[in-house]
């Protein structure tokens, strides 16, 4: 990633920071923008695991739930400050990610995917059944609004904060992908045995990918807890995990911008398709089938291909597709 590539992202981020003013401080727009930030973080985390390392997880809602419930509970029961709740939520999610990574260290493909489905379900069941702690199906209510120092964040300020977190995590992702660590993850995805023979500790780097994905999900969960103010187990379901997966695949797994594009498109899509209610999942289902069949690198892959055609590079071989 050369420096000359930065102006466009910087411009987009500036635009996003101005979004509330541009849209006349519309509450609905703010709400959708916050959800976009949260899902972008979730998708970026899963992309590390699925896109770069090639490990499928259909249980990210589990880590999302851990981050959300831990942060929410710390705020409700102990009255800890917002940032500390957020931090501990992410930390606990990371530790659970480490544990799940350790127990599945020999699993790949469909077997791993199944275990992650089970994991997500277990976490949801804990949220449902540990009523004294989580409130069960009645929900965890009364999470106080986020405070930085003594300042209670308005919805608009909360959006700025969520956007800032998203941008920081994006920059960290870019840095990691373009380092020894990102290369090791991609190498594991591309050719596990050769990666091992290049001196890459495959098991260790798998764990790193698991923990990054879990940590990002935990941060997203903490943000969601304070954004929503109440948590219900129904929200952290298998379909939620699948939606995160759809975002990554649709935008472009194993690309830097793919998860962002996927998260924003799917989130906004849900808003537009709301009248269709449960039929919208059918549309997303079809979408994913088509993307997997015809656009292996998602929307980013197609965009990159078009760009190369426009630049007259017929072979399309001048960029490492592995990167993004």
């Amino acid at each position: 990633m050369k420096d000359k590539k930065w102006p466009l992202p910087v411009f987009i981020v500036l635009l996003l920071f101005l979004l509330p003013s541009i849209t006349g401080h519309n509450y609905y727009v703010l709400h959708v923008a916050n959800i976009c930030c949260i899902f972008t973080i979730l998708a970026m985390g899963l992309n590390m695991l699925q896109g770069y390392t090639g490990l499928v997880s259909i249980g990210q809602a589990g880590f999302y739930a851990i981050g959300a419930y831990i942060s929410g509970l710390l705020a409700v029961k102990l009255g800890l400050p917002f940032l500390i709740c957020l931090f501990i939520g992410a930390l606990v999610a990371s530790i659970v990610g480490l544990a799940l990574g350790l127990t599945t260290v020999r699993l790949y493909g469909g077997y791993l995917a199944l275990v992650t489905v089970g994991f997500g379900r277990i976490i949801q069941l804990i949220a449902i059944n540990w009523v004294e702690m989580t409130g069960g199906g009645e929900g965890l209510l009364g999470i106080p609004p986020a405070k930085l120092g003594t300042v209670v964040l308005t919805p608009e300020q909360f959006y700025y904060f969520a956007l800032l977190v998203t941008v920081i995590l994006f920059v960290i992702t870019v840095n990691l992908v373009n380092s020894k660590i990102g290369r090791a993850l991609i190498a594991i995805r591309e050719q596990r045995i050769a990666a091992n023979m290049m001196g890459i500790d495959v098991a260790g780097y798998r764990l790193i990918a698991f923990v990054i994905a879990a940590c990002y999900s935990g941060i997203a969960g903490g943000l969601y807890a304070f954004f929503a103010g109440s948590l219900f187990p129904d929200y952290f379901s298998l379909p939620q995990s699948i939606i995160i997966l759809i975002m990554v695949i649709l935008g472009g797994a194993g690309t830097l911008y793919g998860p962002i594009i996927g998260a924003v498109l799917v989130t906004i899509g849900f808003e537009f398709l709301r009248p269709l209610q449960s039929y919208q999942m059918i549309i997303y289902g079809f979408g994913v089938v088509l993307v997997v069949m015809f656009m292996p690198y998602g929307i980013v892959g197609v965009a990159r291909h078009l760009l190369q055609i426009m630049q007259g590079d017929r072979k399309g071989s001048e960029t490492g597709v592995a990167r993004g």
Partner: protein, 257 residues
């Protein structure tokens, strides 16, 4: 001795893939390992590089006991290998493939990489420079921005070697580097091997092309059914009765009824 393999046995259930093999590799030599199919050559590579844990026996590399250590540990100690079947990273560029080979020599911590610290930038730059040198050496520098899966077969084999070289190994294990190559490509690869050896690299070579083996290697070890059948200079091996019978069968008069 750079590498010492002592009485190594490798059993897969009842199959004795290696049955008490002793090999000692002198530094600065090209050491060929030959033998009929299924004689245990690739198994020996896999045992030496840590992919298999031997059933019994010891392996010392540079005086360190590496028996049963993991491949990433052994690579860091200065060993590298290529594979019989191509195992490149297909969707990475030629350059990126080689930089991955540099993995163990890049000093970057997770946190420094995450913030892209000055030291990380310096390490990355160094790794890419090293990769360029290696690609220049094997003659793939012009293809550095291409994806690995767009290379011709012979080029891909060279990339395998380049990737292995990027880790600055002392010992390079080449598993059939000339497999599937035409005579001129074979010569190109073997000349490269010779050049590497002259630069001080020690090479162990599994190869089926006898002409290449006899022309380029210093020592030849012959394996058959997991046992060492013979060892010596190419001339000695060519005239060894046991070797000839293992490859061509026994003379009619000597055969049992």
């Amino acid at each position: 001795m750079l590498l010492e393999v002592n009485q190594v046995q490798m059993y897969f259930g009842g199959i004795k893939a290696l049955d008490g093999v002793d090999v000692a590799i002198q530094p600065g030599t090209i050491h060929a390992v030959i033998g009929p199919n299924g004689s245990g050559k690739t198994t020996m590579f896999n045992v030496i590089t840590g992919f298999y844990k031997p059933t019994s026996g010891k392996i010392h590399f540079n005086g360190i006991d590496i028996t049963g250590e993991k491949p990433h540990f052994i690579v860091e100690k200065g060993m590298a290998r290529t594979f019989q079947t191509l195992r490149l990273f297909p969707h990475m560029t030629v350059m990126e493939n080689v930089v991955v080979g540099r993995h163990t020599r890049i000093r970057e911590s997770f946190w420094r990489a995450a913030i892209r610290s000055r030291s990380t930038i310096k390490e990355e730059k160094g790794a890419y420079e090293k990769a360029e040198q290696v690609l220049d050496l094997v003659g793939l520098i012009d293809k550095r921005h291409q994806l690995a899966n767009s290379l011709a077969y012979g080029e891909a084999r060279l990339l395998e070697i380049a990737r292995a070289l990027a880790s600055d190994p002392q010992l390079l294990l080449l598993d059939e580097p000339a497999a599937g190559m035409n005579p001129s490509e074979t010569k190109q690869v073997m000349e490269l091997v010779k050049q590497l050896c002259q630069k001080g690299l020690t090479i162990i070579l599994v190869e089926h092309d006898m002409k290449a083996v006899m022309a380029y290697s210093d020592v030849v070890t012959v394996l058959d059914h997991g046992k060492k059948l013979a060892e010596g200079t190419p001339e000695e091996i060519q005239h060894n009765e046991h070797v000839i019978s293992a490859y061509l069968g026994k003379r009619r008069g000597q055969q049992h009824a």
